[in-house]
C-alpha cells in the first residue's frame, strides 16, 4: 500500500493557489503530520489524499487503498451507548460474534487508555477520552488510509497530551496515517512532517 503526492497544487475555483509542488510519500506504519496555519490548506490536502477532491495540478498516486477512514476535530458518538460499543461496531460489521468483537475492542481500548471508561456512556466521556475513542473506532475498522483532521483543536492542553500520546503509539502495519494539525504537540507525536508553509505561493 502506498500513497505518493507528486508536484501537487490546489486552488478552489478562481481563488489563489493554496499550495503548489507538494511532493511526499506516505507509507503504512508511519504517521505523518500535515502542518501549517489555519487556512493553509491542510484539510484540502487530506481530501486530495482521500480522493474525494481532485488536485488542480500534479498527481496523487494511490496504490491498494480501498478503505479510508476520517477522524474529525469534533468527536461524534451516540450519547447513551457505552464507549466500547462504538469500537465493537466496526469489528462486528465484518462478521463474527459480539464476544469476539468485544475482546478485540477491549485490546484497542486499553491501547488508547480507555479501559477504565469502556462501560461509560459516550455522553459522560471527557473531550480527550471522546477523541481517543474516535481514533480507536477508526482503527477498529482497519482502514488502509486513516485521515485525522485537527484532533486536538477542541481540547485543553492536558487532553491534547493524551491524544498526542495515543497518536505517537500508533503503529499500524496496514494503515497509512496522516494528521492535519497546527498544534506542535500533535506534530511532534508524528514520525514525519509535510509543512504546507513551505509550499505556499506568493502572488
Amino acid at each position: 500500500m502506498r500513497l505518493r503526492l507528486e508536484g501537487v497544487g490546489h486552488c478552489f475555483a478562481d481563488a489563489q493557489w493554496l499550495f503548489r509542488g507538494v511532493t511526499a510519500d506516505f507509507e503504512t506504519g508511519t504517521t505523518t503530520a500535515v502542518t501549517g496555519p489555519s487556512g493553509s490548506g491542510k484539510s484540502t490536502l487530506l481530501a486530495l489524499m482521500a480522493g474525494s477532491l481532485y488536485a488542480a495540478e500534479g498527481t496523487v498516486a494511490r496504490q491498494g487503498i480501498e478503505r479510508t477512514q476520517w477522524v474529525f476535530q469534533n468527536p461524534f458518538g451516540v450519547a447513551r451507548r457505552a464507549a466500547i460499543d462504538h469500537v465493537v461496531l466496526p469489528i462486528m460489521a465484518v462478521g463474527g460474534s459480539r464476544d469476539q468483537a468485544t475482546d478485540q475492542a477491549m485490546v484497542l481500548m486499553e491501547q488508547f487508555g480507555l479501559a477504565s471508561v469502556a462501560a461509560r456512556p459516550f455522553a459522560q466521556l471527557s473531550g480527550g477520552e471522546a477523541q481517543r475513542l474516535m481514533l480507536a473506532r477508526a482503527v477498529a475498522s482497519q482502514p488502509h488510509l486513516l485521515l485525522v483532521d485537527e484532533p486536538t483543536a477542541q481540547l485543553d492542553h492536558q487532553a491534547a497530551v493524551t491524544v498526542a500520546e495515543a497518536l505517537s503509539s500508533l503503529s499500524l502495519k496496514g494503515t497509512i496515517v496522516a494528521v492535519a494539525t497546527h498544534d506542535p504537540l500533535t506534530r511532534d507525536a508524528c514520525q514525519s512532517i509535510v509543512d504546507l508553509t513551505r509550499y505556499a505561493t506568493e502572488d
Binding site: 461524534f76 447513551r80 451507548r81 466496526p90 462478521g95
Partner: protein
C-alpha cells in the same frame, strides 16, 4: 454482520433510550388514539342515527289502497329477507264508547296478526285489544281492562309505545283489535331493514287483484326522517373517512423523524462499515417495537371503550380500528426506511465541514 448482532444493536438502542422508543410510542398513541377515537365517535353517532331511523318508523313503509289490500299476502311479506315485519290494518268508522269517560267514543281498527308483531307491543292479558301507551295511561284500569259501554270490561292484550316523534299519529288514539287476515284491508305496513327501495316496490304484491291502477300509494310511516337512508353509504361517506389516511401519513412522518433525528448516528454507523441492509433491519426492529407498542395500547383502549357502546353495524368497530391501525403501522415502518434512504455516509463529512 450477523443477524444476532443486528438485533443486539437494536435492543441496546431501545434499552439505552437511544431510539427514544417511549416518546415515539406516545406520539403514535396520541395520533392513532385520536384518529380511531374520533372515527369511532362518528361511527357511533351515525349508528345512533341509523337506529333512530329504524325505531322511529323511517323504514316502515305504508301501502295505502282502501279496501284493496289482501291481508294474507301482506302478512306474508314478512317472510321476505329484508322485511322484518308486515301486516295489514283496516281503518273503519267503528267506534267504542268508553264507560268511564263522557268523552267522544274511540275509534277501533282491525289489524292482522302480522301487524300486531310489527308494533312490538308489551304483553298484557290474553286476547282482546291493543292500545297505545297514551291511551293506556288514560283508560286502562288496574285489572288491565278497558270498560266499554257495549260489552263491559274488555281485556287489553298489549300496550305499544307510539311516541309523537314525527310518525303518523293515527294509532295513538285508536284501539286495535286483531282479526283474521283473510279479507281485504285498507293499508299494508312493512318494516323494511336495511332500507331498500326494491323491497318497497315489492309491497305491491299485497294488493288485491281488483285494485284499480293508480289507486295504491306507498309512503314512509315517518316522513320527517327523509324518504330513504342508506346505512352503507352513510358509513362509507362519513366526515371522518379520511382521518385514518391522515393518521397514517402522520405516522409515516414520525417514523421518518425517528430516523432523521439520528442521521449523524446512522451516517457514523454506515461509516463504521455496517452494511446499509443491516442498518435497515436494525432500524426496522426499533421502529416496529415502539409503533407496535403504541398500536397495542390503542387497540386495548378501543376494545375497552368499544365494548361500552353498542355499534349497530357489525363491522362498524372493525371499520374504526382494523385496517387504519395496520395501515398506520406499515406507513410508520415505511417512513423510517425513507428516513434511512435519505442518509448517506457522506453526511458525516458534510456535517463536520460546516461546523
Amino acid at each position: 454482520m450477523w443477524i444476532r448482532n443486528i438485533l443486539g444493536e437494536a435492543l441496546r438502542n431501545l434499552a439505552s433510550g437511544t431510539a427514544h422508543a417511549l416518546w415515539f410510542a406516545s406520539a403514535w398513541l396520541v395520533i392513532m388514539g385520536g384518529v380511531c377515537g374520533l372515527d369511532l365517535w362518528e361511527l357511533l353517532a351515525l349508528s345512533g342515527q341509523v337506529t333512530d331511523f329504524h325505531d322511529r318508523g323511517g323504514s316502515t313503509m305504508v301501502l295505502t289502497a282502501p279496501g284493496h289490500v289482501d291481508g294474507v299476502a301482506c302478512d306474508e311479506l314478512a317472510g321476505i329477507t329484508g322485511i322484518e315485519a308486515a301486516g295489514a290494518i283496516r281503518v273503519n268508522d267503528q267506534r267504542v264508547d268508553i264507560s268511564t269517560t263522557p268523552r267522544s267514543p274511540l275509534p277501533i281498527s282491525e289489524i292482522t296478526a302480522g301487524f300486531a308483531r310489527l308494533l312490538d307491543f308489551r304483553e298484557g292479558g290474553p286476547g282482546g285489544l291493543l292500545a297505545s301507551a297514551s291511551l293506556a295511561d288514560h283508560y286502562l284500569d288496574s285489572r288491565g281492562t278497558i270498560s266499554t259501554r257495549a260489552s263491559g270490561a274488555t281485556s287489553v292484550a298489549g300496550v305499544f309505545s307510539w311516541p309523537d316523534d314525527g310518525r303518523a299519529q293515527g294509532l295513538a288514539y285508536t284501539l286495535l283489535s286483531v282479526t283474521p287476515a283473510n279479507r281485504n284491508f285498507d293499508e299494508c305496513w312493512a318494516r323494511i331493514w336495511p332500507p331498500s327501495t326494491g323491497n318497497s316496490d315489492l309491497m305491491g304484491v299485497a294488493l288485491a287483484g281488483d285494485t284499480p291502477p293508480g289507486e295504491a300509494q306507498v309512503t314512509p310511516l315517518n316522513t320527517t326522517m327523509g324518504s330513504t337512508l342508506d346505512p352503507t353509504a352513510l358509513f362509507a361517506n362519513r366526515r371522518t373517512q379520511w382521518l385514518p389516511i391522515a393518521g397514517a401519513a402522520a405516522c409515516s412522518g414520525i417514523g421518518f423523524l425517528a430516523v432523521w433525528l439520528r442521521r449523524l448516528e446512522c451516517a457514523a454507523t454506515l461509516d463504521s462499515g455496517v452494511p446499509r441492509l443491516a442498518l435497515s433491519i436494525q432500524l426496522f426492529v426499533e421502529t416496529a417495537w415502539w409503533s407496535t407498542l403504541g398500536c397495542v395500547i390503542v387497540s386495548g383502549l378501543l376494545v375497552i371503550t368499544g365494548a361500552q357502546f353498542e355499534v349497530t353495524r357489525p363491522d362498524g368497530f372493525a371499520l374504526a380500528a382494523g385496517w387504519p391501525l395496520g395501515f398506520a403501522l406499515l406507513m410508520t415502518w415505511g417512513g423510517a426506511q425513507a428516513g434511512l434512504a435519505c442518509i448517506q455516509r457522506r453526511a458525516l463529512m458534510v456535517y463536520f465541514k460546516h461546523r
